[in-house]
Symmetry: C2
Subunit: 177 residues, 2 copies
């Protein structure tokens, strides 16, 4: 059977994680991979409704996501995780847990994230209406050593997707495709 692995998108709110993850999903599905997207919001509804956004709760959220991702990966599924996952340590634990993890740092200056924020979440966070908001009142720790970095303020979506697909190919993740 084809080998499973996880593609883990990390970045600030509105940096482009969900958009890119959906596009990469399409590309890989066309190549015949079994794909499962674990999107932060859906996961919070089904797996972690008890958790908030303190560091402890965020870590537990990532711990549960990585458990589910691991189960899928060890059964040959390519799992795409799109989650802010702001803490380096929690992401490192997920990497160790899952085993095969390709980290995509969705790099976007906070100013650009705010410009795209049609839901007005950053504004509400700055006004203090949303506590523990990553980038405003909570830290975001950029990955020290991601498999690929996309700069979504300077690249088109197509360019970022191409960069990710090329990195997956070059680093041997698609060999069995």
């Amino acid at each position: 059977m084809k080998a499973g692995f996880a593609i883990w998108f990390t970045g600030l709110p509105r940096s482009g994680k969900t958009t890119l993850s959906k596009r990469v999903e399409e590309e890989l599905r066309m190549q015949g991979h079994r794909i499962q997207v674990l999107d932060g919001d859906e996961v919070r509804d089904r797996l972690t409704p008890d958790l908030g956004f303190t560091r402890e709760d965020r870590d537990e959220n990532i711990y549960r996501i990585s458990y589910v991702a691991k189960l899928l990966v060890q059964n040959g599924v390519v799992v795409i995780v799109a989650a802010i996952s702001p803490y380096t340590q929690a992401r490192a634990a997920a990497r160790q847990d899952i085993g095969h993890l390709f980290e995509v740092y969705v790099n976007c200056p906070i100013k650009s994230c705010m410009e795209r924020d049609y839901k007005g979440l950053y504004k509400r966070a700055i006004l203090g209406e949303i506590p523990n908001f990553t980038g405003v009142s909570d830290p975001y720790e950029p990955p020290p050593n991601p498999e690929v970095v996309v700069d979504t303020d300077r690249e088109s979506v197509d360019e970022s997707v191409a960069k990710i697909m090329a990195a997956l190919q070059n680093q041997g993740y698609l060999d069995s495709g």
Copy 2:
């Protein structure tokens, strides 16, 4: 790809769910299926450490398990769940959520379960040391319409496994094997 489905073992504590699920796992693995066992205890450690054993918490536990089972099933995995899952309504919701579910009622009189209880959990429950213990201080609702019933007080493990495998075969679950 082969179709996924879930085999859901429900029954009292010490009725034989884990033993049977491991044996069925072996049988199906030999037939070339992708298998993932979700055992109640491991799941409680990784997915639902926040939950206790009230009805509400048990329902939430089953809700999370069924989400993970669904993700695996829709990616072609045969998922084996072994969980007391005492409430009919929560099991029915899991069935609807997962879509393809084969329910195994592990039927064993409580007297026999107690005889096998080398950990002494029933004794502690009767003494009031463990609250919300299924069969003692919490109800167990037998499935009204399971795909198969095994009577583990009267059958050997081999007999119960054979019964389950035959029912899987007869009901068309192993056609793609």
